[in-house]
């Protein structure tokens, strides 16, 4: 199996698809929506290296390298291997299922040549683990099957980048232990986006979920460039307790430069009630999974059909209130409270008999 959709059960296997793809599949499996896509498996990468004896070729080149070989030697190895890989495209056996998976993704999204992000999802032994995060590149806004294949190819080549090779040498890791699975995921085209906290960030109230959202991508909210709309949701019952329209004068459509929002849309709420409620339900679910209040980035994708257009982008533990010492809910200094609890904690004699109405 060279491709696995996020919805496929096997896609949750980190050995087959790498950490990044596995976590996206895991969220999908739990009903938490991420932007749709698929993984090109580690097996696909292995199949590519088998092509025309690439693995043996690479091994020969790499065998001459030692941790103290110097950066120039690593860069030379990159050049030699890259030159060889450049001449060898993905074999049909691998390219065909990728083309098929991409076509299905386009069909699912209802968009021809849907723009995707291509990102590495490297697998390795657990001991190597997360240290690879950030070592590999991500490409966004890739359109068309041939471009997607080209960028998967780029991912494969990136395993043999000079800085990666020297890093691996320093850690005494055989580059062949790295297997490059690849994530191909729809790029979010945000009609609106924002941040959600599964508690009230101003009061620390854990029975509330707060969402802040603005038009376009979430950059304007995170960067504080607009006054976002603010929604206060009851965690219990998911009723919307409050909606405060912001003033959203700019929006990011693509992530580079912001553009003006027409005056008549600036104060209009950017999320519908059903969207707010559905997002809050996801927030509540994430908090339950992680057993702690969460800080979540989300978007409403304008290309995806209604009902499938809510996308969770990031999720991390909330830190401010979760780590703060909360004053106890029971305040013994609050007059009536202490007198009454004082009076219910004390043992008292049972009532005497005979309290009938007498006249």
């Amino acid at each position: 199996m060279f491709t696995l959709e996020f919805t496929h059960p096997d896609c949750r296997d980190v050995r087959q698809v790498g950490g990044k793809a596995a976590s996206l599949a895991e969220m999908t499996a739990q009903g938490l929506p991420v932007a749709p896509g698929f993984a090109v498996t580690a097996a696909g990468y292995r199949r590519y290296l088998e092509e025309a004896g690439l693995k043996e070729f690479a091994t020969q080149v790499l065998d001459g390298l030692r941790p103290d070989s110097g950066q120039a030697a690593f860069d030379e190895a990159e050049r030699v291997i890259a030159a060889r890989l450049a001449g060898i495209p993905l074999p049909d056996e691998l390219a065909a299922p990728v083309r098929e998976a991409y076509a299905k993704l386009c069909a699912d999204c209802g968009v021809d040549d849907v723009a995707v992000a291509v990102r590495s999802s490297a697998t390795a032994e657990d001991s190597v683990g997360a240290s690879f995060a950030g070592e590999f590149e991500t490409w966004v806004d890739i359109t068309g099957a041939e471009n997607v294949l080209a960028h998967i190819h780029k991912c494969y080549v990136s395993v043999f980048a000079g800085r990666v090779l020297s890093y691996l040498a320093e850690k005494e890791i055989d580059p062949h232990e790295i297997e490059m699975a690849v994530v191909v995921q729809k790029v979010v085209r945000a009609r609106a986006a924002g941040v959600m906290f599964t508690l009230s960030p101003t009061s620390g109230d854990r029975s509330k979920i707060v969402l802040e959202a603005s038009w376009g991508l979430g950059l304007s909210v995170v960067g504080g460039e607009v006054t976002p709309d603010r929604f206060l949701v009851e965690k219990i019952g998911l009723g919307i307790a409050d909606r405060t329209p912001g003033y959203k004068h700019i929006e990011y459509r693509r992530g580079d430069a912001p553009q003006d929002v027409p005056e008549d849309r600036r104060s209009v709420l950017c999320l519908a009630d059903e969207e707010v409620t559905a997002l809050a339900a996801f927030g509540k679910q994430l908090e339950k999974i992680h057993q702690a209040p969460q800080d979540i980035e989300f978007a409403v994708d304008e290309e995806l059909p209604d009902g499938k257009n809510l996308v969770l982008l990031q999720c991390r533990p909330e830190t401010v209130w979760s780590n703060a010492d909360r004053p106890p809910a029971f305040d013994a200094s609050a007059g009536m409270m202490s007198w009454i609890t004082g009076s219910i904690s004390g043992r008292t004699a049972p009532p005497a008999s005979g309290a009938a109405h007498q006249h």
Binding site: G204, F330, I340, S343, G346, P351, H357
Partner: protein, 627 residues
């Protein structure tokens, strides 16, 4: 008269409404603001208790103000020694009842009272269910005792048994004795009323405060949903209407019970058939006690009960019967409501630390222990006891008519309770001596003088407050029961300047709704209420429940989140804003408003009742009005 904006007028600054001059002499002296007590009165903050007396009260009816505030005072001040509050002082001003919370500020005195309070309240909290059980027995005894009082006509000769049993005293002595007993029993019942109420509110508020501290943004409604009873006595009269509506459907009597006509006509129609008789038997069985139910709270002698005006429950039954016939399910899903309540509680508790969860459980337990009393006591006191009390008063009035002292039975209520005592002495003594009552002409003239005064008092509405408001309203009764909060008081101060588009009140029941309003001063006008309208009333007692099937929202002049209007609206899921102060005075039937039951706001959407506005607008634009 000028007042600065930090206070309301003082009592002595307010003039009597035209035609009501001299009203002061009608009430017991200690209920009327006076020159001697002016320094105290001017220093206090007084707010109108229009929840219990929505109109200016007849002299006799002021007995309720005495009994209620004697009850509050004894239990707050002397029996349970609430650490920071004494009783509520009370005055009648221009016929309306005003009350004033009295706080304790001296720290030493607070400490001393706290010690007494903990010991005494602890006893009640620890034995609540048992003592509350005794309370019900006591109340039933008190009602039976009231019921046993009778006022017999003064006959030409004392009955034979006076001689046969050698009683040695006239039966007429019972007239004054029983009058005193009637008054004493009434005061006793109002003692019982407050035996549990202060502690009940206290227990409830403690859970409330805990939740506010644990979840700073939690709404009052969410807290009360965790506590509120699902199947309580307060809903029983309305549940009985639903039951009878269902029975009418089962017996094929929907057309009969929904037909136009008087209740006498309905009764004849029902008696004509086997099924009709079955239904009628069930209806009559329900009437006592469930329809011994006042349209408001039974604080005035002239208020109707469902039994004295059966058209009210019959109207409710008919409206439910139509709904059932139309296929609607009107039963209250008790099991589901209970399951939902438990689920909410579980979810909130899961958000707490282990220690907090333990306290949460304990305080929720306390709140749930005390809450049935808060919800149920009105049935015993305001409805059942008052019903008997007023029946006996009317019986006494008839004796005075029969004795030739009064022209009409209702005239008796123009005398206050002390004047009536004097009159009874006069009547009995004159009867014994064999002369016409000596005060007959004098009281007849006085009653004639008072009639236009009471009419003038009732025609005027009550300003929401007098005197100097506190920086913060902290009295729990004022806040919880009357909805008199710091914000509300500030609104009143501001609102007296001019007309505003917004009325602020207490969030009573969640939800936002827009629609035309229907201003009703009395439950008798309820048939005017049309589907889709928002009900505006001085108060809404639980007996208005059937109106909630018609109204899309409720606005009241007075009441807090714990008032009956709010409790019942939450139960029926109707948005409500209570305690607005001025809604019945400000709003006109037909005006469109938006009410927000969460924010506690009422926004007027158009200035004039619908229809007028549309026409004017069309003319202004030079567009011919369509249709």
């Amino acid at each position: 008269m000028s007042t600065d904006s930090n206070r309301f007028p003082f009592f002595h600054e307010a003039k009597a409404p035209g035609g009501a001059e001299g009203w002061e002499s009608m009430y017991p002296y200690y209920l009327v603001p006076s020159e001697e007590t002016r320094a105290h009165e001017d220093a206090q903050f007084w707010f109108a208790d229009t929840m219990h007396w929505s109109r200016g009260c007849h002299p006799f009816d002021s007995i309720g103000a005495e009994a209620v505030y004697l009850g509050v005072g004894t239990f707050s001040t002397r029996i349970f020694a609430l650490p920071v509050s004494l009783g509520l002082d009370v005055r009648v001003k221009n016929g309306y009842v005003y009350i004033s919370p009295l706080g304790v500020t001296d720290p030493e005195r607070i400490q001393e009272r706290a010690a007494v309070f903990q010991k005494r309240a602890g006893y009640y909290y620890a034995n609540w269910d048992e003592l509350y059980g005794k309370w019900k027995t006591k109340m039933e005894g008190a009602i039976a005792s009231l019921q046993s009082i009778s006022f017999q006509k003064l006959a030409e000769y004392d009955p034979d048994h006076v001689v046969d049993e050698a009683r040695g005293r006239s039966d007429a002595m019972a007239l004054t004795e029983n009058y005193h007993r009637l008054i004493d029993e009434f005061f006793a019942i109002w003692q019982y009323h407050f035996e549990f109420l202060n502690l009940g509110y206290g227990g409830y508020i403690t859970f409330f405060q805990f939740c506010k501290q644990a979840f700073p943004l939690i709404t009052d409604q969410s807290i009360s949903r965790m506590v509120a009873g699902v199947d309580v006595l307060a809903f029983r009269p309305d549940d009985e209407c639903r039951r009878l509506a269902q029975l009418a459907n089962d017996l094929g009597l929907v057309e009969t019970v929904t037909a136009e006509g008087t209740t006498d006509q309905l009764r004849s129609a029902l008696e004509a058939t086997e099924n009709g008789r079955t239904w009628l038997a069930s209806f009559d069985e329900t009437r006592d006690p469930w329809f011994n139910y006042f349209t408001e709270y039974g604080f005035t002698h002239d208020q109707e009960t469902w039994n004295s005006n059966p058209a009210i429950p019959v109207g409710n039954i008919a409206s439910y019967a139509r709904k059932i016939a139309a296929g609607e399910d009107i039963s209250r899903p008790i099991e589901r409501l209970r399951a939902e309540r438990d689920e909410i509680v579980d979810e909130y508790r899961a958000l707490l630390t282990a220690d907090e969860a333990k306290q949460f459980e304990e305080l929720l337990g306390l709140a749930r222990t005390v809450f049935p009393y808060i919800e149920e006591h009105n049935i015993y006191v305001e409805h059942w006891s008052h019903n008997v009390f007023w029946q006996k008063c009317h019986e006494l009035a008839q004796v005075l008519v029969d004795a030739g002292f009064l022209a009409n039975a209702d005239d008796m209520f123009y005398l206050n309770r002390f004047e009536l005592d004097t009159v009874l002495s006069d009547v009995v003594q004159s009867w014994a001596i064999g002369v016409e009552a000596r005060g007959k002409a004098r009281w007849a003239a006085e009653i004639e003088r008072r009639k236009p005064i009471v009419a003038a008092l009732q025609a005027a509405s009550a300003p929401p407050a007098y005197g100097i408001p506190p920086q913060e309203v902290t009295d729990p009764f004022a806040v919880m029961n009357y909805g008199v909060t710091t914000e509300r008081v500030n609104d009143w101060l501001g609102a007296s300047d001019g007309e505003s588009k917004t009325l602020n009140g207490i969030p009573g029941s969640l939800g936002i709704v827009e629609g035309p309003v229907r201003v009703l001063r009395s439950e008798k006008d309820l048939p005017d209420l049309q589907p889709g309208e928002i009900l505006v009333a001085p108060i809404t007692a639980p007996s208005w429940a059937a109106a909630f099937a018609v109204a899309t929202g409720v606005i009241t002049d007075i009441g807090g989140m714990m008032c009956h209007a709010a409790i019942v609206c939450r139960e029926y899921g109707i948005p409500a804003v209570v305690g607005t102060g001025f809604a019945t005075a400000r709003l006109k039937t037909g005006q469109r408003v938006r009410i927000d039951g969460k924010a506690g706001t009422v926004v007027v959407l158009d200035d004039e009742p619908a229809g007028t506005t549309t026409d004017t607008r069309a003319e202004d634009l030079g567009v011919p009005a369509a249709g």
